[in-house]
């Protein structure tokens, strides 16, 4: 039994993260009747903080409740939900709740560089965007104003801008300043990271950051922007929010238009919502999965999938993490989790040969791992106490994002083996690998970190590097954007080639992942899309 809602919105937004929230907000402000469907629950910040402090193991996901109807990958056991088909794991986390994954991020709000969108024409690798940087520059500016970004002016290898950041850059920590001195001597551009976190001022009725040092997994005071803000603003502008609505099917009419979305409630009731326009903003894995689950007579391979590109070209920033002990006590863990970055490896002719990178000096308190290791060594008493203190003051971590190229064989699809979640929906099955384009860059990254560590007084041979590649939750590519309907899913307006009233708002549309965090570009494209839809809908 399927129940059709009597209410017919002009715009149905599927997903209530930053992308869905910003599209919905724009459209609602323009007077459209907007409904937002969210698979997970609404969250209260104070509950998340309590859950974090009381959690047995404090991970990126520990504050976030697991709801049976909207499972989400966990840190220690991502294969409980994602089905890892290899050859490498795609160990991503995302939050299925109102606000989405920007509940747990470091608020890094980097713009792409113009060349990030011209990889093919400039360097002969990857794909070009069907957009020019300056097409979205005004939307970057609007996204920065909406989110409250604090950033540096005229910093090297930061993208060109038509105006200043809404707030000046957050001050560097003592640790960052020491790094900056050493890195500058080595010839690196080391700059303040642009961040959507209120810097020493109230912005948009949110408080200034007071250095809770807990951006990931939860900012306790809301100084840091999170996607629930966009959803709440959309609601204030008149949008309706439905939670516990797990969309599993889009219906295609005889003329190729989407006619309705169907969702399951936590108790497995099936609801159908008809609308004039649809925006899929359900994230980089759930979004393509919905399209691929929606096989039907008018879309035999799934919705928006005549190109066979839905689910393909899955990317992330294959990451590295290296730790060492500096000679001097620098005390990482004071202030925001990441304050600065090395940017001069973001672009250059080398990109024809190997991946671009952004390196970051991690500013997270390392004391727990250090204490456990010291106890395991058998230290006790004053020796233990002093070892914990001495090592915590000196433990440095440098991480890196490496740019991965789109590869159609990296893909997400609904389980091909009938593996389902608690609602009976197929779980996401992932095939994923990382090629030599990244491997060559990662090898160079290690050598550079070794040199940096030596400059800071690390003992020779003491730098520890991670095995393989670390995930960074920058899930991109699986509904890729392009001009050619034969090899892409959406056009430059993020409208699906196959269905004139279906758009996608997600990093899944990105033709390149670049070497920087993807959220600001998600937000810029979402605002642009919301404006586009509102303009088109205007009588």
């Amino acid at each position: 039994m399927v129940y059709t809602l009597p209410h017919r919105p002009q715009l149905l937004v599927i997903g209530a993260g930053i992308a869905g929230g910003m599209v919905a907000h724009k459209a609602a402000l323009a007077g459209m009747r907007v409904t937002i469907l969210c698979d997970g629950p609404e969250l209260r910040r104070e509950d998340l903080v309590d859950r974090f402090r009381q959690a047995g193991a404090q991970t990126m996901m520990s504050p976030y409740p697991e709801v049976p109807h909207a499972p989400q990958p966990q840190v220690a056991r991502t294969d409980d939900y994602l089905i890892q088909k290899g050859p490498r794991p795609y160990n991503q986390q995302y939050i299925r709740a109102v606000g989405g994954t920007t509940w747990h991020w470091a608020a890094a709000t980097w713009r792409y560089l113009p060349n990030d969108m011209k990889l093919k024409s400039r360097y002969g690798v990857g794909r070009d965007w069907p957009l020019d940087y300056w097409d979205i520059e005004p939307w970057y500016a609007e996204a920065e104003a909406e989110m409250g970004v604090a950033g540096p002016e005229d910093a090297p290898f930061d993208a060109p801008r038509s105006g200043p950041y809404p707030m000046p850059a957050a001050p560097l920590s003592y640790m960052d300043r020491v790094f900056q001195e050493k890195l500058s001597a080595l010839g690196y551009a080391h700059i303040s990271a642009p961040q959507a976190r209120n810097n020493q001022q109230v912005y948009d009725d949110r408080p200034p950051c007071c250095g809770n040092a807990n951006c990931m997994p939860i900012c306790p005071i809301g100084a840091q922007y999170s996607g629930n803000v966009a959803v709440e603003k959309a609601q204030a502008a008149g949008a309706q929010l439905v939670t516990g609505a797990v969309v599993h099917r889009l219906e295609v009419g005889p003329e190729g238009k989407i006619t309705a979305a169907r969702y399951l409630t936590p108790s497995r009731e099936e609801i159908r919502v008809e609308a004039d326009r649809f925006v899929l903003a359900a994230g980089g894995i759930e979004g393509p999965k919905i399209l691929l689950m929606s096989t039907q007579e008018n879309a035999p391979d799934g919705v928006a999938n005549r190109s066979d590109m839905v689910g393909r070209n899955l990317m992330d920033h294959p990451g590295s993490s290296s730790s060492f002990d500096s000679e001097m006590p620098l005390w990482p863990g004071r202030g925001p989790n990441v304050i600065s970055a090395i940017t001069n490896l973001r672009d250059g002719d080398f990109r024809s040969e190997h991946a671009a990178r952004k390196l970051m000096i991690l500013n997270m308190n390392p004391v727990e791992g250090i204490a456990k290791a010291a106890i395991d060594e058998g230290l006790t008493g004053e020796a233990l106490r002093q070892a914990v203190r001495h090592r915590t003051a000196r433990r440095q971590v440098i991480t890196a994002f490496h740019e991965q190229l789109p590869d159609p064989s990296n893909r997400i699809r609904p389980s091909t083996e009938g593996k389902t979640d608690q609602l009976g929906l197929p779980r996401p099955e992932i095939h994923y690998d990382v090629d030599d384009y990244v491997a060559r860059a990662a090898k160079d990254t290690r050598a550079r970190v070794e040199e940096i560590a030596a400059t800071l007084g690390a003992a020779p041979g003491s730098v520890e590097h991670n095995d393989g590649y670390l995930p960074n939750n920058h899930i991109t590519g699986a509904t890729i954007m392009g001009d050619d309907p034969r090899d892409s899913v959406v056009d430059a307006d993020c409208r699906t080639h196959d269905h004139p009233n279906l758009w996608i708002s997600s990093s899944s549309t990105f033709p390149s992942v670049s070497s920087v965090n993807v959220t600001l570009t998600i937000a810029a494209l979402a605002l642009r899309l919301g404006d586009h839809i509102a303009t088109e809908a205007r009588p």
Binding site: Q200, C210, G211, G335, A371, R385, A393
Partner: protein, 138 residues
């Protein structure tokens, strides 16, 4: 800019959140060494003169009586010492093969070991921008 906002925060925390994490009545079920004797062992092994109640109560609840007795009499195996120190330093009891249990968070001794320079994550560290100052311990 305040000189020691972190110390003020810890003072505030003493006697607040810790108690909330310990089930009422749990302590009455424990046997083994006396509380003062066990506390003395905790002080010696941890290197701290003061053990917050949340941690001491947690250790008394989590560790078997015979382990506590051995710790109090200085006859514990290394495993027992490490179990106790793990709980005191991290606030968590994490026995091998069993689910971890949190007994305290902000009171964990690892944070006390660095409190002049680092705040406990999730608690405000000081006035906005405080992190630009050179840490006390640097």
């Amino acid at each position: 800019m305040t000189d020691h906002p972190i110390l003020s925060r810890r003072l505030f925390l003493a006697g607040t959140s810790a108690a909330a994490l310990v089930p009422v009545g749990a302590l009455a079920q424990t046997t083994g060494p006396s509380r003062p004797a066990f506390a003395a062992a905790c002080r010696t092994l941890s290197g701290f003169d003061t053990i917050p109640d949340a941690l001491l109560n947690g250790a008394m609840r989590a560790l078997p009586a015979r382990t506590r007795e051995a710790l109090a009499t200085g006859t514990a195996e290394e495993d027992g010492q490490q179990a106790l120190l793990g709980l005191l330093y991290t606030g968590m009891h994490a026995p091998k093969g069993a689910e971890s249990e949190r007994h305290a968070y902000a009171e964990a001794l690892m944070f006390a070991a660095v409190e002049d320079s680092l705040n406990v994550p999730s608690y405000c560290g000081g006035l906005p921008g405080y992190w630009a100052e050179k840490p006390v311990g640097a």
